[in-house]
């Protein structure tokens, strides 16, 4: 591979051997990372936060610039690790997944197979499909797209038979899952001088919508009752994910909306506050939502619903973290206490 071609490949696929060896060859001093690289790392994170793919200066043939963009990826991992925000890491992984998918789609078949080998995926080339992968290898990756569920695959004799597009999807998902599996990096191994950069970024990243919602809570435009101040920051990872998905206008399945609504009620958010949040849902219908919230709260029936336990959330597939709790409220109450202590200090 020519040098420029190799660099471009390394930039597209940060998990590749080419990317690792390029970073190694750059001999970066961990205590003195180039500001331009840090800026590019922040840009990657901001792209991810905006639910965009990573954007690179693709037209440029400036090798120094490309190298900076290659180095930006491991630096972004460091910043994300300092932030310890699992949702942000997931968003980054999702942008990473999309970026790789778009690059892979345009590659020649041989490149796809080479990438598969780099990702440790064994494949075979049956006559009537693009390729096949062993069932257990397919299951090592979990997929966001319902169409990629095993039940929607062509499965036979322990192999999943894939068309090109699904194979590309599998490769991109595998790369992003491998990324998530290693994140956050152990704090001890991170260069200290990037910590202030990470903390500034954390503050900056508190999304406008989150701020707006909390401002409404503060102003009393939406209310809550109870012994604790309602706080989005204190939400357990699973509920924060559902909450953010709602804010981003994603259509949540019924059980996810049910889990979130029951949790918010239990956390003493008012019906008004929850309605305000559910307005972001693409299929929002005020009358129906209001009725359903009344049912959950027990206003329209004798039955009052509590939020599902962690065990149930695992079963429903909404658990995204190992919080070591048996119920999401335990996490919430503990976090609220911590936040109140922090404020006192």
């Amino acid at each position: 591979m020519e040098s420029l071609e190799r660099l471009c490949f390394a930039r597209k696929y940060p998990f590749s051997k080419a990317a690792f060896s390029t970073v190694k060859e750059m001999n970066i001093n961990a205590s003195d990372i180039d500001e331009a690289v840090t800026e590019k790392a922040i840009k990657l994170i901001l792209d991810a936060r905006k639910k965009k793919e990573f954007s690179f200066s693709e037209a440029s043939e400036d090798q120094e610039l490309i190298k900076q963009e290659i180095a930006a990826f491991p630096v972004a991992k460091i910043l994300l690790s300092y932030n310890q925000d699992l949702l942000l890491i997931k968003q980054f992984a999702s942008a990473y997944n999309k970026t790789i998918f778009n690059f892979l789609e345009k590659e020649k078949d041989q490149v796809l197979f080479d990438i598969a080998s780099e990702l440790g995926i064994k494949y075979a080339l049956p006559e009537t499909f693009f390729c096949s992968v062993p069932l257990l290898s397919f299951l090592e990756t979990s997929y966001d797209e319902p169409a990629m569920k095993l039940v929607n695959q062509k499965l036979g004799n322990g192999s999943v038979f894939l068309e090109r597009n699904d194979f590309v999807r599998m490769l991109a998902s595998r790369a992003s899952r491998q990324f998530i599996a290693l994140m956050p990096l152990p704090l001890k191994a991170l260069p200290v001088h990037l910590k202030p950069v990470a903390l500034d970024l954390k503050d900056f990243l508190k999304s406008k919508e989150e701020k707006a919602f909390e401002a409404m809570l503060k102003k009393g435009q939406v209310t809550f009752k109870g012994k604790y101040p309602a706080s989005i920051e204190a939400l357990p990872p699973c509920m924060k994910k559902l909450y953010t998905d709602l804010l981003e206008g994603k259509k949540l399945p019924h059980m996810a909306r049910f889990a979130l609504a029951t949790f918010l009620f239990q956390a003493n958010f008012s019906k008004q506050a929850i309605l305000e949040l559910f307005k972001k849902a693409p299929n929002y219908d005020e009358r129906v939502t209001s009725y359903q919230l009344d049912r959950i709260k027990g206003k329209e029936s004798k039955q009052k619903y509590n939020a599902p336990s962690c065990k149930k959330l695992v079963e429903m597939g909404y658990c995204i973290n190992e919080c070591r709790t048996s119920h999401p409220m335990q996490y919430y109450e503990k976090r609220i206490m911590e936040l109140m202590q922090e404020k006192k200090k």
């Binding site: 039940v151 929607n152 499965l155």
Partner: protein, 404 residues
């Protein structure tokens, strides 16, 4: 009268003193739990270093229920669960007669209203009290008919495990000792499967999250397409559709699809054309605008019929403990017997361990039931002279008391 629990414990002691339980493998990495009369789990977080130690415990204590973890732990007796050090888990699929609709339930099951002011009762199965609409308490029994249905489902699953998943080693089947079957897959390759991967396998078996479009069934511009490259689920669904076309009557097809019998008669008169069309990737059109609705309903019906009714919780909850094969079930006194050949296995005969020696019992209620090839009952508030195995069965079910 002798206390039912003591009676059963005596019988179980006799069994464990004469029979050795050879399950599970890697016993030192498993968590165990035990139950008493009508309580499946009273204590858990126990562990044993060897099968010998386990059997000696059974001979001493004769618990009425013995359960173990399908998970492997570094330190199985520690609590809470996180401290045990999860090392992996077998795969377990559970079928229960209660989850499968069969007509026999209308004969042997009964219900009683939970509302004390109503207290209505009846034969069969109902969701709610027919008199006042309150919740009901079901009295569930099994018979050869419903256990045969469970067996059919289990056999289908074993085919699927072998053919689709290609898991050929370490498949073990046991009767639960009560109402169903457990299928274990014990191998290094499945031991390390993630929870998410296990959910995907369960969804595949129970057809949860199926997306017809993704499988190649799509309606576009007046044409309903179906997959030509048939494998896995698409093969099962296409085969099901072919069976419907080849073997169903017009009346049955009309009922499933909400069409008129006359339309279905005309439709079925073109069987060859319909099947040829499927082989070429198109579902045969119906007159007017009915094609989409007709085939969608038939596909929904196919999914409903082909989905295997496994207990999702048992497969997905890795901290769950289940009956140890080879031990006795405290609700029946039947053995959770390992099954060598499922086709010829007769659950209500091959799992009977107690003798035919006659014992006198007072039966509060029992419908007609079958055990060890013999028909008993019905009984209602009466004394009966029964073989030991039937006496144990009714006493364990809480339907009879021993009489000296």
């Amino acid at each position: 009268m002798i206390d039912a629990e003591n009676y059963l414990r005596e019988k179980f002691l006799k069994f464990y003193s004469r029979n050795k339980v050879e399950w599970p493998s890697s016993i030192d990495q498993r968590e165990f739990g035990f139950g008493s009369f009508k309580k499946k789990i009273v204590s858990r977080h126990s562990s044993f270093n060897s099968l010998q130690e386990f059997n000696s415990f059974l001979r001493q204590e004769a618990p009425l229920f013995v359960s173990y973890s399908t998970a492997y732990y570094e330190k199985p007796s520690l609590q809470p669960m996180e401290k045990k050090g999860f090392q992996g888990a077998d795969i377990i699929y559970e079928f229960d007669a209660d989850d499968i609709q069969t007509s026999c339930k209308q004969k042997h099951d009964s219900w009683q209203c939970t509302n004390p002011e109503c207290n209505a009762k009846g034969i069969g199965r109902v969701e709610k009290c027919s008199a006042c609409g309150s919740a009901v308490r079901l009295d569930e029994w099994v018979c050869p008919e419903c256990l045969d249905e469970v067996k059919k489902q289990a056999m289908k699953l074993i085919d699927l495990i072998k053919q689709d998943f290609s898991f050929k080693e370490g498949i073990k089947i046991n009767f639960s000792g009560s109402k169903g079957f457990h299928i274990h897959i014990i191998s290094d390759e499945v031991k390390k499967l993630s929870n998410q991967a296990r959910i995907e396998l369960v969804d595949y078996i129970s057809l949860q999250g199926i997306d017809f479009n993704a499988l190649g069934y799509s309606f576009d511009n007046g044409k309903f397409y179906c997959p030509v490259k048939e494998l896995g689920i698409s093969k099962k669904l296409n085969d099901f559709l072919r069976n419907v076309i080849s073997g169903y009557s017009a009346e049955k097809l009309a009922a499933i699809t909400g069409s008129r019998v006359k339309e279905c008669t005309e439709f079925l008169s073109q069987k060859k054309a319909i099947l040829d069309s499927m082989n070429k990737g198109t579902l045969y059109p119906l007159p007017g605008r009915k094609t989409e609705k007709f085939w969608n309903r038939l596909l929904d019906y196919a999914v409903e019929s082909e989905a295997l009714k496994i207990d999702r919780q048992t497969s997905v909850d890795l901290s769950k403990i289940i009956r140890v094969p080879g031990t006795l079930h405290g609700d029946t006194g039947l053995k959770a017997a390992l099954v060598k050949d499922l086709a010829s296995f007769n659950a209500l005969q091959d799992s009977v361990v107690f003798s035919a020696e006659k014992e006198r019992v007072f039966v509060s209620f029992a419908p007609k039931f079958y055990l060890n090839g013999v028909e008993f009952g019905p009984f209602n508030e009466e004394e009966a002279l029964l073989p030991e195995f039937a006496a144990v069965y009714l006493i364990a079910k809480g339907k009879a008391k021993p009489v000296k």
